[in-house]
Amino acid sequence: MRSEQETIRAIERYSDTVQRLCMVHLKNDADTEDIFQTVFLKYVLSSVSFENDEHEKAWFIRVTINACKDLLKSFFRSHTVSLDNVMEQSAELPPDYRDVWEAVFSLPQKYRDVVYLHYFEDYTAPQISRILGKNVNTIYTLLTRSKQMLKEKLGGAYEYE
């Protein structure tokens, strides 16, 4: 079991990443709290020794995404999650950003994960495939399709590569 100091350090370092992934998966506050508890408890009890910070971050991303998916499937989760919550947040953004925000959140879940990991976390397709445990060709396909969908929604004014 990990120490309290180690755990607090991990919370400080990765809680923003966990929070963003919760946002990508449309969690409400109660669900986000559940995800935080699940992910960091798993970390405390985990005996995995990380090779470096990147390895540790990838572990947090994978565990958070899996926890979000489990919660989405769960019968007991709060059913107050709504796309409207996310869309409301876009109201304060400048118009160009608002369009992108709304286009990203209108993508199906499996595309949203890869788009977020690719554009925000700067992961390549092979890295995403390792994190999500999917075939690299599947990730290439998902990325290509999500770029096409974003282009259809936003037009050619943006650089997608």
Binding site: I11, E33, Q37, L41, F76, Y97, V100, Y116, Y119, Y158
Partner: protein, 264 residues
């Protein structure tokens, strides 16, 4: 504009609240008992909820099984009462069809009793025995969608009524009973009403409602011009206790008799 830059601008401001971090730290300390134990009890609420759902399912399922009537026994003499019987042959409800029926129902304590004991109690009731000894006519009608259960109940009721004079047992379909209830009559009276209506089209259900079975039978006898063709229940009683027939030939026993005749 580069999509990577836009994503950075969009997602960078999303930060975990300090309150959430502190709650998580407190939760972890509590669940690991100050980082001393690795045996963390899993959340129990899904288990509790499952147990509760199973319990509720059993409760409502059991309630439905027990409190869904599968057969009915209607007793008519005036008073007229109707017992609802569940699949376990127990009386789950008792309805009355007129003022006398209400008085009789109030004096009985047959709810949740086996139907045979309940019928026995009704037949031994002072009001009923007094009426029967006064040469009144009583009909007992068994209704139900489950043919097997209805046949069993009918034979049980027949056994109860065997020693009683002027007591007749029938089987009726649910549709016939529904027709009877629609005009506010118990089934026994409804049969007699139909018979009477053939002789006097002006007769109304309301007029029949407060008449005793004897009065109805007497009226039928009076109105009938051809006593030999009168297939009334009252006349049938001359043949013994169980004049299953009436004029409509829809009784359980009538069906059996018709089938036997057809076989012959």
């Amino acid at each position: 504009m580069n999509m990577n830059d836009i994503f950075k601008k969009l997602f960078k401001p999303i930060r975990a609240k300090e309150e959430l971090k502190n709650q998580t730290i407190a939760f972890l300390a509590q669940r690991t008992q100050g980082y001393t134990t690795t045996t963390v009890k899993p959340h129990r609420y899904p288990l509790y909820a499952t147990v509760c759902i199973c319990f509720l399912f059993m409760l409502f399922g059991g309630h439905w099984l027990y409190f869904t009537p599968t057969a009915e026994i209607t007793i008519d003499i005036n008073p007229s009462i109707e017992m609802s019987i569940n699949r376990f042959d127990q009386v789950i409800d008792l309805n009355d069809f007129n003022v006398d029926g209400q008085k009789l129902a109030d004096s009985l304590n047959i709810k949740y009793m086996n139907y045979a004991d309940a019928v026995e109690q009704v037949l031994n009731n002072d009001t009923i025995t007094a009426l029967l000894s006064n040469n009144e006519v009583m009909t007992i009608t068994v209704t139900g969608a489950d043919g097997q259960q209805s046949a069993k109940i009918l034979s049980g009721v027949e056994a109860c009524a065997e020693e009683r004079r002027n007591t007749y047992c029938f089987y009726a379909s649910s549709e016939e009973v529904a027709d009877a209830h629609r005009i506010g009559l118990s089934y026994g009276k409804y049969r007699a009403f139909l018979e009477l209506q053939l002789l006097d089209p002006n007769i109304t259900p309301e007029a029949v409602q407060e008449m005793t079975m004897r009065e109805i039978r007497d009226l039928i006898g009076h109105l009938s011009t051809d006593s030999e063709n009168n297939s009334s229940l009252y006349d049938n009683r001359q043949n013994g206790h169980h004049g299953y027939g009436g004029g409509h030939g829809r009784g359980w026993r009538n069906r059996r008799t018709e089938q036997q005749n057809a076989g012959e």
